[in-house]
C-alpha cells in the first residue's frame, strides 16, 4: 500500500494540536511549525501529483479493511490537482498572515492546520460519509478562522455562516441516509457499480438523495438559490481567511464533479447525468447575479465576494455540460479563479487597513500609504478576475467559451458569460477609479498605525505570479488538464482501483 496518501491528512492533524497545546504563548514557534507544515504539504502535494501523473488511480485502505467495507482514500489526477492548489494557496496565505494577522486573536495557526486537514481530506476521500466528516472538520475550523480577530460584524456574519452550514449538514446527512437506504453502500466506487441495479420502485428515493446531495454541494459552491451566505461571510472575514476560503467554494465544485461523473455518469443507466439539467440554469443565474452584485457593491470586500460567486457560476456552467472538453476548461478556470480571488482578497485587506476611517468602502478618500503600488496590483488582480487579456482569466474564459461550443444552449451560455464579463469589468473599473484614481486629487493623506510588512507584498506577488504562470504555461497546463478530464470521464479506472475487480457496465 502507498502510505503517501494518508500524509496530507495526518500531518496537519498532528501539527494542529501540537501548536494548540505546546505553543499557545509562543507565536514565533507556532509560525515556524505552521509554515513548515504548509511547506511539507506542498512537497507532499507535488509527490502525490507525481504519483498520479501517469494516469494511475491509487487507493489506500484505512486500517486495511477491504473496500467497500472500510473507508478508502483515493488519489487520481483530479484530487492531486486540488491538493496541489490547496497547498500552494496555504503557503502563500500563511506568509501573508504571518505579517500580523495571526496575532490579532488566538489559535490562528492550529485552526489553520485543521482547516487544511479538512480540505485535504475532502479531496482524498473515496467514501461519501467520510466526505461529510471532512466537510465538518473544515467547517468547524473555518468557524474559528472566520471570527478570528473578532469585531461585531465579523461575529454576527460568523453566526449566520454557522447556521447556514449546520442546516446544510443536516441536509447532507438526510441525503446520505436516503442513498444508503436504497443502495446499501457509502463507498463512491461501490455506489457507481450499484446505482444502475437499483429496482425501479426505489429509484425515486435514490434521485431524491442524489439531488439533495447536489443541493448541499451547491451551498458549499455558493450556487443560486443558496448563495446568500457568501457575501456576508467573505466580506466580513479577515482578509487572509477570505483568501483561504477562496478554495472552500472549490471543495463544493470538486464534490459535484466527483459525485456526478463517478456515480451518476454513463454507468448509471436511466439516472445518467442527472445533475446537468439542474446545474446549468442555476449556474447561469449565479453568474449573472454575481456580476450584477459586483456592479452594485458599495465596499471592496463585498465586490470581491460577488466576483467569487460570479466565477463559481462560470465554472459550474462549464462543469454542468459534463463533456471532457468543457471539464478541462472548467478545471483551468478553477485554478485561475482560486488564485485570482485570493490575491484580490489580500489586496483589499491591504487597502482597507491603510484607509483609516474609510476601510474598504468604495468612496473617495485621501491618499494612503503605498497607494501607487496597491493601485497597480489591484489593477492586475482586477484584470485577472474579470477575464481580460493578458492574464489567465482571459484564457480560462476563452477555453470555457470554446468548450461549450457544441452545447444545445451554446448561444445563451456565450451571451451570459460575455455579459457577465462586461458587468464585472464595469464594476471593477468603477471601484478602482473611485478608490485609487479620484482619491489622488484629494488633499492630505491618511495615516495608518500599521507598518507595512514586506511579507504581505511578497504573498500578493506570489499569487499574481501564479496567474502569470498559468498564462505563460497555458499549453502544458491545459494538456495536463485534458488528461485529467479524460480520467474523470472514465470512471471504470477509478472503480477498478478501489474495488480491485473489473467493472463491466
Amino acid at each position: 500500500m502507498n502510505h503517501w496518501l494518508i500524509l496530507p491528512i495526518l500531518l496537519p492533524a498532528l501539527v494542529a494540536p501540537l501548536i494548540a497545546l505546546t505553543m499557545r504563548y509562543d507565536i514565533v514557534l507556532a509560525r515556524i511549525f505552521s509554515l513548515a507544515s504548509a511547506a511539507a504539504l506542498l512537497a507532499l502535494a507535488l509527490i502525490l501529483t507525481g504519483i498520479a501523473h501517469d494516469g494511475t488511480v491509487t487507493s489506500y485502505l484505512l486500517g486495511n479493511w477491504a473496500a467497500p467495507f472500510g473507508i478508502v482514500l483515493v488519489l487520481d489526477r483530479l484530487s492531486a490537482l486540488m491538493l496541489l492548489l490547496t497547498a500552494v494557496l496555504a503557503v502563500v496565505v500563511l506568509l501573508y498572515s504571518i505579517g500580523g494577522w495571526d496575532k490579532r486573536g488566538r489559535h490562528f495557526h492550529s485552526l489553520y492546520q485543521f482547516q487544511l486537514m479538512g480540505i485535504n481530506g475532502a479531496f482524498l476521500t473515496g467514501d461519501f460519509f467520510n466526505l461529510f466528516v471532512f466537510f465538518e472538520v473544515l467547517l468547524i475550523a473555518s468557524y474559528g478562522l472566520m471570527v478570528h480577530g473578532g469585531g461585531r460584524d465579523c461575529v454576527r456574519a460568523g453566526v449566520q455562516y454557522v447556521i447556514v452550514n449546520l442546516v446544510g449538514s443536516s441536509v447532507f446527512l438526510i441525503a446520505v441516509g436516503l442513498i444508503y437506504s436504497v443502495v446499501g453502500t457509502l463507498n463512491m466506487a461501490d455506489l457507481a457499480v450499484k446505482v444502475a441495479d437499483v429496482p425501479p420502485g426505489d429509484r425515486a428515493l435514490l434521485v431524491t438523495g442524489a439531488l439533495l446531495l447536489l443541493l448541499v454541494f451547491a451551498i458549499k459552491a455558493a450556487l443560486v438559490p443558496v448563495q446568500f451566505w457568501l457575501p456576508g461571510t467573505y466580506a466580513n472575514a479577515p482578509g487572509p481567511v477570505a483568501a483561504l476560503f477562496a478554495v472552500m467554494t472549490k471543495v463544493g465544485a470538486y464534490s459535484i464533479i466527483r459525485m456526478y461523473t463517478l456515480a451518476f455518469g454513463d454507468g448509471a443507466g436511466d439516472l445518467a447525468w442527472l445533475a446537468g439539467p439542474w446545474l446549468m440554469p442555476a449556474a447561469l443565474v449565479t453568474l449573472l447575479l454575481g456580476m450584477v452584485g459586483v456592479l452594485a457593491s458599495r465596499a471592496l470586500g463585498q465586490m470581491a465576494s460577488f466576483a467569487v460567486i460570479g466565477s463559481m457560476g462560470t465554472l459550474l456552467v462549464a462543469v454542468s455540460l459534463f463533456t471532457p472538453m468543457a471539464m478541462s476548461a472548467a478545471l483551468y478556470y478553477l485554478l485561475h479563479s482560486t488564485l485570482a480571488a485570493a490575491s484580490m482578497f489580500l489586496i483589499i485587506d491591504l487597502v482597507s487597513e491603510r484607509r483609516t476611517g474609510f476601510g474598504g468602502n468604495i468612496e473617495v478618500a485621501p491618499r494612503f500609504a503605498q497607494m501607487g503600488f496597491l493601485a497597480c496590483v489591484f489593477f492586475l488582480a482586477a484584470i485577472a478576475m474579470t477575464g481580460m487579456p493578458p492574464l489567465s482569466g482571459f484564457i480560462g474564459k476563452l477555453l470555457i467559451l470554446d468548450g461549450v461550443r457544441d452545447a444545445d444552449w451554446a448561444y445563451v451560455i456565450w451571451a451570459v458569460i460575455l455579459l457577465g464579463s462586461l458587468l464585472a469589468i464595469v464594476g471593477f473599473a468603477r471601484a478602482g477609479s473611485t478608490v485609487f484614481w479620484k482619491s489622488r486629487s484629494m488633499e492630505g493623506a491618511l495615516k495608518s498605525s500599521r507598518r507595512p510588512v514586506v511579507l504581505s507584498f511578497v504573498a500578493v506577488g506570489m499569487l499574481l505570479s501564479g496567474t502569470v504562470f498559468l498564462t505563460v504555461f497555458a499549453g502544458p497546463v491545459t494538456a495536463y488538464l485534458d488528461k485529467t478530464a479524460l480520467q474523470i470521464f472514465t470512471p471504470s479506472v477509478y472503480v477498478e482501483a478501489v474495488l480491485g475487480h473489473v467493472w463491466d457496465k
Binding site: V147, V155, R156, V162, L166, S169, V176, L178
Partner: protein
C-alpha cells in the same frame, strides 16, 4: 411502527425548520437541535426498522439489524454536539458584542436596554 417513526421525524423536522426561520439566535439553536434529532432518527431508520435484533455477531441471534446506520448516527451525534456548542458560544458572543440576538445582518441595531423595555 413505521408510521410512528416517520411521523415523529416529520414533526421534529417541521418544528426545527420553523424555529430556524425565526431569525433570532435562541430559537434558531433550538431549531437546529431539533433538526439534528430528526436527522439522527432518520439515519437510524435507513437500515430498516427491526425490534430486538443485535447489530453485532452473536452466537444465538435470530437475525441481525444493519450496524452501519448505528455507527453513522454515533458519528452524527458527536459532530452535532460539537457544532451546537460552537453555535451557542458564537451566538452568545454576537449578542454581547452587538446588543441584540437577530441573525439577520441588516436588522437595525438596538441597544440591549431598549429591547428589554419594549
Amino acid at each position: 411502527m413505521e408510521f410512528i417513526v416517520a411521523s415523529s421525524i416529520a414533526m421534529m423536522m417541521a418544528a426545527g425548520v420553523y424555529l430556524v426561520l425565526r431569525a433570532q439566535t435562541f430559537p434558531v439553536v433550538l431549531g437546529l437541535s431539533l433538526m439534528t434529532y430528526a436527522v439522527n432518527v432518520f439515519l437510524f431508520a435507513t437500515g430498516k426498522l427491526a425490534i430486538n435484533l443485535p447489530p453485532v455477531i452473536n452466537a444465538d441471534a435470530a437475525g441481525y439489524t444493519d450496524p452501519l446506520p448505528q455507527a453513522l448516527v454515533l458519528t452524527a451525534i458527536v459532530i452535532s454536539f460539537g457544532m451546537t456548542a460552537v453555535i451557542v458560544v458564537m451566538a452568545l458572543r454576537a449578542y454581547l458584542e452587538s446588543g441584540n440576538d437577530h441573525v439577520d445582518l441588516s436588522a437595525p441595531d438596538q441597544p440591549i436596554s431598549k429591547r428589554r423595555s419594549s
